[in-house]
């Protein structure tokens, strides 16, 4: 069709964790601007497959911005140049004809590359397993109205809870710090009465696991907040710091 974009893609290719990896160039021709970024990559991959070459591996699933599976660092921006947008919701109308687009995986020691643009984010699961929950058995819950929660706190808890666990915060941070991710969960539960009994224990354990996974530290640049597709506020990091410091002072 006419009016399509012709783009040069510089894509990170890496056969596996042991491979050194390199950037390779591909042409994406006649791309409809209404396509999503991943649909553009689908087209490139269809071309690669039919010509017998290995397609570019990348993670994706829901393609509606909520599952957190898609990643990619596009011209240095995790999830691309649009604010508050996942890669799957990024559309090619954000680019111009003739653009050169560099596509790299989320880079962090704690997110080893599996292949091409796919990384292993299981470190996030392990951090959650260290304490990102309320210890409540199924069936043991009191009536939902037993404990009222002020609307303001409920809304703020929700804002923190919208984290999709994609790892863009880690990818954006120059120190590959996971504090926005961890802070979001700590804050979500510390704002609710249900989260109080384990509040300090949770902050301590999750931070410990976060450190053991090899994520870096916060330098208060707030790139994480700017890259977060759910626009989670840096405030969650401060809350986590407060909870952690209180927990450390008290015990």
């Amino acid at each position: 069709m006419s009016g399509g974009l012709n783009l040069t893609l510089r894509v990170w290719r890496q056969n596996g964790p042991g491979d050194k990896g390199r950037i390779e160039e591909y042409q994406a021709k006649d791309i409809n601007p209404n396509k999503s970024f991943l649909e553009m990559l689908d087209v490139v991959n269809e071309g690669l497959i039919t010509s017998g070459q290995d397609p570019i591996e990348f993670d994706h699933d829901c393609r509606e911005g909520i599952c957190g599976m898609c990643s990619l660092v596009i011209n240095g921006n995790p999830h691309g140049p649009e604010r508050g947008t996942t890669t799957c919701q990024l559309h090619m109308r954000s680019f111009s004809d003739g653009d050169v687009i560099t596509i790299e995986p989320f880079r962090a020691g704690a997110f080893p590359v599996l292949k091409d643009l796919m990384v292993d984010r299981s470190a996030f699961d392990r951090v959650t397993q260290a304490g990102g929950y309320v210890s409540i058995r199924t069936g043991a819950a009191p009536d939902a109205h037993a404990t009222p929660v002020g609307k303001e706190n409920a809304d703020a808890a929700f804002d923190a809870a919208t984290c999709i666990g994609c790892g863009a915060c880690v990818a954006a941070c120059k120190n590959a710090s996971a504090m926005l991710f961890v802070g979001a969960k700590v804050t979500h539960l510390s704002l609710l009465p249900q989260g109080q009994p384990e509040r300090e224990e949770r902050a301590r354990n999750m931070v410990k696991q976060m450190d053991e996974e090899g994520f870096g530290n916060c330098t208060n640049q707030y790139e994480c907040e700017a890259a977060c597709p759910k626009e989670i506020s840096r405030n969650v990091i401060s809350n986590m710091n407060g909870d952690f410091l209180l927990a450390s002072l008290r015990k």
Binding site: D211, T219, S233, N239, M240, N241
Partner: protein, 244 residues
């Protein structure tokens, strides 16, 4: 007791613990630079004012050599804070490098401020400056400062005392342009460092509030500018001949 040691070790080894130590030690210096500046600005009141101020400062408490115990206490405390600040900075930096072993081919920042991006750089140069500054005006003025009359007679409590001629030392030193310019540059870096630091302390110690965030950053920037103007005014005044 052992439990307490294990816990504090855990705290010191944790990312947030390190950051809190860095923030707290930095906070001491945020206060110190202000008090230090107030002392220095007395130079504009003339030789007697600053020389007497320095004399009194160094003669508070029992004398241990050339200075009183209070000054020694302050020195040790400040040195300890500096050591903590530098130690945590080095340790954090090392961890941060390890956290991203492979860099991006295309690097880009979205909203990081210049000050925040050059904290390590400004901090390192400030450290160099501090060493020079201590040698220059505190420990070895005879080697580092330009020749000046070492003492001056001033009257306190009705008696005349020969005091260290701080005024003469400073004026003589800054009349040499390279030294004055080096000091001014150091103050610019200090201001850059402070503009990020003051707001960061609030965030790191867990006091951030969305509604007050803009105000905190304004205060941080204003404070950094205040220190810059106050401290840089001295070499500038001397260099331009306002102070002789």
């Amino acid at each position: 007791m052992t439990a307490a040691i294990t816990r504090s070790k855990g705290f010191i080894n944790s990312s947030i613990g390190l950051k809190a130590l860095m923030a707290a030690s930095g906070l001491v210096y945020v206060g110190f630079v202000f008090v230090h500046m107030l002392g220095n600005l007395q130079i504009f009141l003339g030789a007697e004012a600053i020389n007497v101020y320095a004399y009194n400062l160094h003669h508070t408490g029992p004398m241990l050599g050339k200075s009183g115990a209070v000054v020694w206490g302050a020195r040790i405390f400040l040195l300890l804070c500096l050591a903590i600040h530098v130690f945590t900075a080095v340790k954090l930096k090392k961890q941060n490098w390890q956290a991203r072993p492979q860099k991006y081919a295309y690097s880009h920042t979205i909203q990081a401020t210049i000050a925040s991006r050059y904290m390590g750089f400004s901090g390192l140069l400030i450290l160099v400056f501090i060493v020079y500054h201590l040698l220059h005006f505190t420990f070895m003025p005879e080697r580092f400062a330009v020749a000046y009359a070492p003492t001056m007679e001033h009257t306190i409590h009705g008696t005349s005392v020969a005091m260290h001629n701080v005024y003469g030392m400073v004026v003589a030193s800054f009349q040499w342009a390279p030294v004055a310019i080096f000091y001014i540059v150091a103050q610019v870096l200090l201001a850059l460092h402070l503009s990020h630091a003051v707001a960061s302390v609030i965030q790191t110690l867990g006091f951030d509030q969305e509604s007050k965030r803009a105000r905190v950053q304004q205060i941080s920037t204003a404070y950094a500018l205040l220190i810059l103007v106050g401290n840089a005014s001295i070499p500038l005044a001397i260099l331009t001949g306002l102070l002789q």
